[in-house]
Symmetry: C2
Subunit: 215 residues, 2 copies
């Protein structure tokens, strides 16, 4: 499958790299077509890896991952272009972290709204699926780094899109348990969880952790 990955940071590199290793063709999108981190990633990832602008990557992908920093996501997606996202699944992995109040970060949207909802509202013809934002980049694509079975979540308005993303999470990323939390407003739940994630990180002193819902 042809996949666009917006963002060349740790999350974008982890997701793009895993998808290439699984045999997909992946174009990493950045602000400029000659982004150095993207160039380095293309060199190391090998066959199937390419790079371009946000618009190039979005046009290339049959499905698009938003792996940009939350504070820049809407700008990056505007640069990607609504016409390049129309009708496509847009997997939103970003968290709306706000570092302006110091550490730990707070969130610049929450409670009665979420970043995923803002993205869905700005791109109504894309099928936004919030996913993977509850674990660090390494665990996203290698859930076995956490010693024990844990859960990952999907939220979105399009049931078919959630099903397709669930298939990728299971077949390509190795997740065994994917919990559907409901429509895109459920992203308020997984984005707000970052407040707890940050404190748990401080308590367990290792970012390779996750939660298991026991019921």
């Amino acid at each position: 499958m042809k996949i666009g990955v917006l963002g060349s940071g740790m999350v974008g590199s982890a997701i793009a790299g895993k998808l290439v290793s699984r045999g997909h063709e992946v174009k990493m999108g950045s602000r400029s077509a000659s982004n150095e981190k993207a160039t380095a990633w293309v060199s190391s990832a090998g066959k199937g890896a390419s790079q371009g602008t946000f618009a190039d990557a979005a046009a290339f992908g049959e499905i698009v991952f938003n792996c940009t920093a939350g504070a820049g996501s809407l700008d990056a997606l505007q640069a990607a272009g609504a016409q390049n996202l129309r009708g496509k699944i847009l997997v939103d992995v970003a968290n709306p972290l706000d570092f302006s109040h110091g550490m730990p970060p707070s969130l610049f949207v929450g409670n009665t709204d979420s970043l995923a909802e803002r993205i869905q509202a700005a791109f109504p013809e894309a099928k936004v699926v919030k996913a993977l934002n509850t674990v660090n980049a390494s665990v996203m694509v290698d859930p076995g780094r956490v010693p024990g079975e844990t859960d990952i979540f999907v939220s979105g308005n399009d049931v078919g899109a959630k099903g397709e993303v669930t298939r990728i999470l299971k077949d390509d990323f190795g997740w065994k348990s994917v919990i559907d939390l409901g429509d895109v407003t459920a992203a308020r739940g997984t984005e707000s969880y970052l407040h707890l994630w940050l404190r748990l990180w401080g308590a367990v002193k290792n970012a390779d952790f996750n939660i298991k819902v026991v019921h």
Copy 2:
């Protein structure tokens, strides 16, 4: 031990009942000394159970549990009286739920503040420990209702107070794993988790659930 429990709802009844069954003397506090729900609880709970005003219960307890609804907690604690809380451990079980925007509820404080912090700021001579607000009332006092070992959290500025609350959570309530998340600002994490808890409740369709942190 003499314990004051503020609130006669499901949470107050569950906690007060469990503490009486463990041999503690418990006074349930309400807005009025003749609150009907408190009277019913005293009748059913038997030896060791009594009732009174918020101030009566706070004065009675060597340790005090805030089990009032979050929206009324500061008023209830003002009625309880700073002089009756001075130097005491105040276990804050409340969540700042706001039902004014419809269902699911949002939170009336969060992100860069929390209900526990507001309580600590209003009662600087009390030792506020946020605990138990991440599970429903039944699970708080009977963690075995969830089929599998799960975690409960404490947050607060006083290390000794957190140790004493941890002992009660383990010895009286049956929790095996109590995770110390840090100072009272960590209550932002467990209170914000309510957004995820509400969506998980919808997904698992059973309020007797909890999370296990795997690392």
